[in-house]
């Protein structure tokens, strides 16, 4: 029953936090602690080889709403709890309306619901709920740029979900069920892939890609994630985007999507990293970077072997942790200096508190893949599992690009005396920073002993250090050659056109693959 309880009671608390103004902050913390216990119970059951699965309302599996847990949902639930704890700590001293905590409860409720959801329509409803909640969260401070960014997000996400619903209609017409487990049985038994499967799956993928931060589809993302307030950006970039990736993973397990996801991951990774390299606004750079890092996750899902999916999951957790940490610390740094551009931040770096700079440093090291931090583990697993040379090259280019884009921040880390941060912020940095530092032993949980020893030998250490070195060298060269990249593609009309082009691309790729 826990899988039904976890989402539902957040929705209950969402209503309650409007009614009881003074206790909202404590209630949020208590609810996260209780969530942690419940997720812990699920982990215990899972370790004992037992997965939970309920059908709501006493219907059959074909028509009822199935909620179930598996390794994917549990891992992401853990990430949600860590990020939630950090965000609540970060906001502990801030004065926020109860309305804000209502939205946070709705967000966590829908995140848990999506993790346990097992049918296409239930996923549609929860994704729409996530859209609405993050739309309101981005526009929470009601600044004009926030409102415009969130409005663009809403229009594009709603268009995407409309396309998704068309896919749902076709799937239901041909199979009479929307349950993913039953669907995978139907499709794998039908031998060669029927025509409708390529049309339906490309519609579904297009819809989900709009929500999950893939470059051609999620052109709303840079504006929305860069303008939202720091705690919200951390949640959106660390957690909400990953929910789209979870749905892509579930779709990839059912439909034949390998080729299309691999191509999309290369596109989003490389274009995202180019924009990140040439962006000098800290929060905008982090937002572009999210687009590129989604490339790693989707690549692992696209290849689809066991070790690749594990690598993808590890990188998803790692990325959630360090992107959350970077957004929180960046918010504090921007507040302390009053500047958002990186040169301005560097000029006034003595005003940035010490803990904030340490947080930025840990996040940067994690995202660059310096061993043995969080980014290193995921990247190593992904490149070990990849067999083709093209994919290896893309992975190396992505890693070098990551280092180049973050090398801009290095002057911030010169040792200097700084003022002190308030304690809630330090707690937030600790909650996210410690798992980043201790990720290598933690990743032992995902792998068998032999896989673990095979994956993390001397070679990956040397390789990732070489990548960092190459990236730093390339940064020295590229710094002298600034480049103006087209900004028009992020306008509403152009973004819709590009989604349309992306849909045809996906359709052709699914049809070929």
């Amino acid at each position: 029953m826990i899988v039904a309880l976890l989402p539902l009671w957040h929705f209950l608390l969402a209503g309650l936090s409007l009614a009881w103004e003074r206790g909202t902050r404590g209630m949020m913390l208590l609810s996260l602690l209780l969530d942690a216990t419940l997720v812990g119970v699920l982990f215990g059951q899972f370790a004992g080889g037992q997965t939970v699965s309920v059908v709501l309302g006493g219907w059959g599996k074909e028509v009822g709403i199935v909620l179930a847990d598996d390794q994917y949902s549990l891992v992401f639930a853990l990430l949600a709890l860590l990020l939630g704890g950090a965000v609540v700590a970060y906001l502990w001293r801030k004065r926020l309306r109860p309305y804000f905590y209502m939205l946070l409860h709705l967000l966590f409720g829908s995140v848990f619901a999506l993790l346990f959801a097992r049918d296409l329509f239930n996923i549609y409803v929860i994704m729409e709920l996530l859209t609405l909640t993050s739309f309101l969260l981005v526009g929470y401070e009601k600044r004009a740029d926030q409102i415009w960014a969130s409005l663009k997000y809403l229009v594009l996400a709603s268009l995407g979900m409309g396309v998704y619903l068309l896919g749902v209609a076709i799937v239901y017409y041909h199979t009479g069920t929307l349950n993913l487990d039953l669907l995978s049985a139907v499709i794998s038994s039908s031998g060669d892939v029927p025509q409708w499967v390529s049309l339906a799956s490309s519609l579904l993928v297009t819809g989900v890609a709009v929500k999950s931060g893939i470059f051609m589809f999620s052109l709303w993302l840079p504006a929305a994630h860069a303008t939202a307030s720091p705690a919200i950006s951390a949640l959106l970039s660390g957690l909400v985007i990953k929910m789209g990736v979870v749905v892509l993973l579930r779709l990839a397990l059912v439909f034949p999507l390998s080729l299309s996801l691999e191509v999309l991951s290369a596109v989003t990774g490389l274009l995202g990293i180019i924009y990140a390299i040439y962006t000098y606004d800290l929060k905008k750079m982090l937002a572009f970077h999210t687009l590129s890092q989604i490339g790693y996750l989707v690549l692992g899902i696209g290849i689809g072997s066991e070790i690749e999916i594990v690598g993808s999951l590890e990188y998803a957790v790692g990325h959630g942790l360090f992107k959350g940490l970077l957004f929180l610390a960046a918010g504090a740094a921007v507040q302390a200096t009053g500047r958002e551009d990186i040169p301005g931040l560097i000029a006034r770096r003595s005003r940035i508190p010490l803990a904030t700079r340490v947080g930025l440093l840990v996040g940067t090291m994690g995202i660059m893949g310096i061993p043995p931090l969080a980014g290193f583990c995921g990247k190593t697993l992904l490149s070990n599992g990849a067999e083709s040379l093209v994919i290896q090259t893309i992975l190396v280019l992505l890693s070098i690009g990551t280092v180049i884009s973050f090398a801009k921040l290095i002057p911030l880390f010169r040792p200097e005396r700084g003022s002190s941060s308030p304690w809630p912020e330090k707690v937030a940095y600790l909650i996210l920073g410690v798992p980043i530092l201790l990720f290598l032993p933690f990743s032992r949980l995902f792998l068998s002993a032999s896989q673990w020893h095979q994956s993390f030998g001397v070679f990956p250490f040397v390789e990732s250090l070489l990548v960092v070195g190459a990236g730093l060298l390339a940064h020295r060269f590229l710094r002298k050659h600034p480049l103006r990249l087209p900004k028009r593609i992020f306008h509403l009309e152009e973004a819709i056109l590009i989604i349309l082009v992306g849909f045809f691309l996906v359709f052709v790729l699914v049809w070929l693959g």
Binding site: L132, F135, K142, L159, G162, V168, Y172, H491, I496
Partner: protein, 119 residues
């Protein structure tokens, strides 16, 4: 030869909605086009899974009658409510923008907001 049924109408409406979203510059008309587009997906879901000549799925007497599948109708109910919520919230945000910039033209909004960001 294509006959006129719910699905073809839905495809045409989807196209009109998409065209409106892309070429009309007025934000309110864009939202109306979005509503049309989302409505067409609902029409598609219902009419694709309809059963001409079927009776409502309420069992009276012998069960050998051809019943309509009730699930698509149950599904689109939630979809309709969701689309209503999206349009309502989007219009609230459009109101906030209009109060500030006195325009619903997307190009001008984009321009004004970019100028404020760079200044």
């Amino acid at each position: 030869m294509m006959s006129i049924n719910g699905v073809t109408i839905a495809i045409v409406l989807f196209g009109i909605g998409l065209l409106g979203l892309i070429i009309r510059r007025d934000l309110v008309i864009k939202l109306l086009a979005l509503g049309l587009l989302n409505g067409s997906t609902i029409l598609c879901l219902v009419s694709l899974n309809s059963l001409p000549g079927g009776v409502p799925p309420i069992i009276r007497g012998p069960s050998a009658v051809l019943y309509v599948d009730p699930l698509p109708q149950a599904l689109v109910l939630s979809a309709i409510v969701i689309n209503f919520a999206i349009l309502a919230l989007a219009l609230v945000f459009v109101m906030l923008l209009v109060e500030r910039y006195h325009t619903t033209d997307t190009q001008r909004l984009e321009h004004e907001i970019e100028r404020e960001e760079t200044s």
